[in-house]
């Protein structure tokens, strides 16, 4: 129980800050919708605007970066804070330490993924516009899956890069490289490999390109593949943690 508390205490500031930033970004996008949509020629519907700005646009970029920030704080970073000796002297296995870190982090990622839906559902009626709540929740599920793999990758890098800031930079650079690889190279022909597209639905058969809404069931096969890959990355991070000297 207390390990959960320790992990929460170590991550709560980052989590609360991330949640505030993402909520603020989504709120600004929604509050400025009238002006922004009006400038487009022809003016675009609210649902399309939300998709462009939130689920495929700035909010998704912010979400990805904030997930990287949430994944910081492995045992290696504890070493730079000078507390790793105390932690490793506790009668707790490294696997349990890693599992606690992963569960707390993924819970925070999931909350972050559902925040845009909460802001949309709460704020849209106030401004006299409507966004289908079911759509918001479906995108939240897709973001949770995408956030999970970004978190897993950043967690893995956090076990090999010592400083917290360096691990954030390394994770960010890896994400940029991945994004370039799947958008510029021959891989762009395979949108299923692009988890950013999985999150937004862009070029995916489950997104209606006219209404910008998800139709039919969620792509469970893709989501499962993404989650399995994330589990593999986290298992690798755990293995490296077992082998490492602290």
């Amino acid at each position: 129980m207390t390990l959960w508390y320790k992990t929460w205490r170590e991550t709560r500031m980052r989590f609360l800050l991330s949640a505030s930033i993402l909520s603020w970004v989504c709120a600004v996008i929604i509050l400025t919708n009238h002006g922004a949509r009006g400038q487009a020629n022809p003016p675009i519907p609210y649902v399309e605007y939300v998709w462009q700005a939130v689920y495929k646009g700035y909010a998704q970029d912010f979400f990805s970066i904030l997930v990287i920030v949430l994944a910081g704080g492995s045992l290696l970073q504890e070493r730079s804070h000078g507390t790793v000796g105390f932690t490793l002297a506790l009668p707790v296995s490294r696997t349990r330490l890693m599992a606690t870190r992963a569960v707390v982090g993924l819970s925070q990622v999931t909350v972050l993924a559902f925040l845009p839906a909460c802001v949309l559902i709460g704020l849209s009626p106030v401004l006299g516009v409507f966004y289908p709540p079911m759509q918001a929740l479906q995108f939240a599920v897709l973001w949770s899956a995408g956030g999970t793999i970004i978190f897993a990758g950043a967690l893995l890098l956090g076990t090999v890069v010592e400083s917290e800031y360096s691990s954030w930079i390394a994770s960010f650079l890896c994400m940029m490289l991945y994004s370039a690889a799947v958008n510029i190279t021959v891989l762009q022909r395979y949108p299923n490999l692009n988890f950013f597209k999985m999150m937004s639905g862009a070029q995916m058969p489950y997104l209606d390109a006219v209404t910008f809404t998800i139709h039919g069931p969620l792509p469970w096969a893709i989501i499962t593949t993404v989650l399995v890959t994330a589990v593999f990355l986290m298992a690798l991070a755990n293995r490296l943690t077992q082998l490492r000297d602290y």
Binding site: T2, T83, V84, G85, L88, A89, P91, V92, Y246
Partner: protein, 304 residues
Amino acid sequence: MICEPVIETFGLSKSYGGFEAAKDLTFQVLGPRITGFLGRNGAGKSSTIKMLLGMIRPTSGTATVLGHRIDDAKQSLEIRRKVAYVGEDKGLYAYMTVEQLIWFTRSFYPDWRPEIEKRLLEEYQLPPRRKVKALSKGMRTKLALLLALSRRPALMILDEPTEGLDPVSIEDLLRTITSITADGTSVFFSSHQLNEVERIADAVLMIDRGKLVLNFAMDELRENYRRVTVGFDRSAPSIDLHLPGIERVRSDGRQLSVLASRNSDAIVEWARRCSATSIDTQPVSLREIFLDTVQMGPEATSSR
């Protein structure tokens, strides 16, 4: 008092790339008593301690702590259940308050003793609601000791416990260390402060450049270790290095200085046979042995 081994190492070695932090360490630490682990900065003390606690993996060799093997994950957990460790940097979670950290640590040890916790909290005058980051280094050391002692550990391992402390805090700490063996707790502490080790240790292990160079009981030092200085009216003859008890010999023209761990009478007898003009036998301090050992290097020393 029956002394039983609390730590046993068998050829324990650790390399970082080409650098050997610990080389083929084989020794026993007996309990319940205080054993000082001496060595210069970078001699390999912390690496050895970290291997014993499962924080780093030995390159070769193995060890047991309280009968549990360090290279077995389950047994390593058992070691950490029974051993209290206070690290060199006293790194505690800076964001927690004193009472939060006590609550956190207590949850891992079912045999936690609240009465010891309460007594030490008062004795050390630790403010329960103050954050760890706001504590001085001396206070942090006291808090680390409270966390360690409230569990009534079978073995306490301290890595450079007095590092960075003021003289009053050092005095308090040494008094605490001395008192805990009365409850049956063994203490293994690393230091390069010779006077501290000499004051409180019952036994001493000395390592230099990763190698064990000396291993003796302090009583043995006081009773048997002698420096025999022999003068001649000619160049000093070479001494038979196979005489039992000779640890080191230094020749300086007409004078020979012999450090003996025992058998100093035989060395005196040898000097007389060689027509020495002066023979002086003096007890040796830990400081002398240490300096002699580290200045000459581990290759010139036989570990005992």
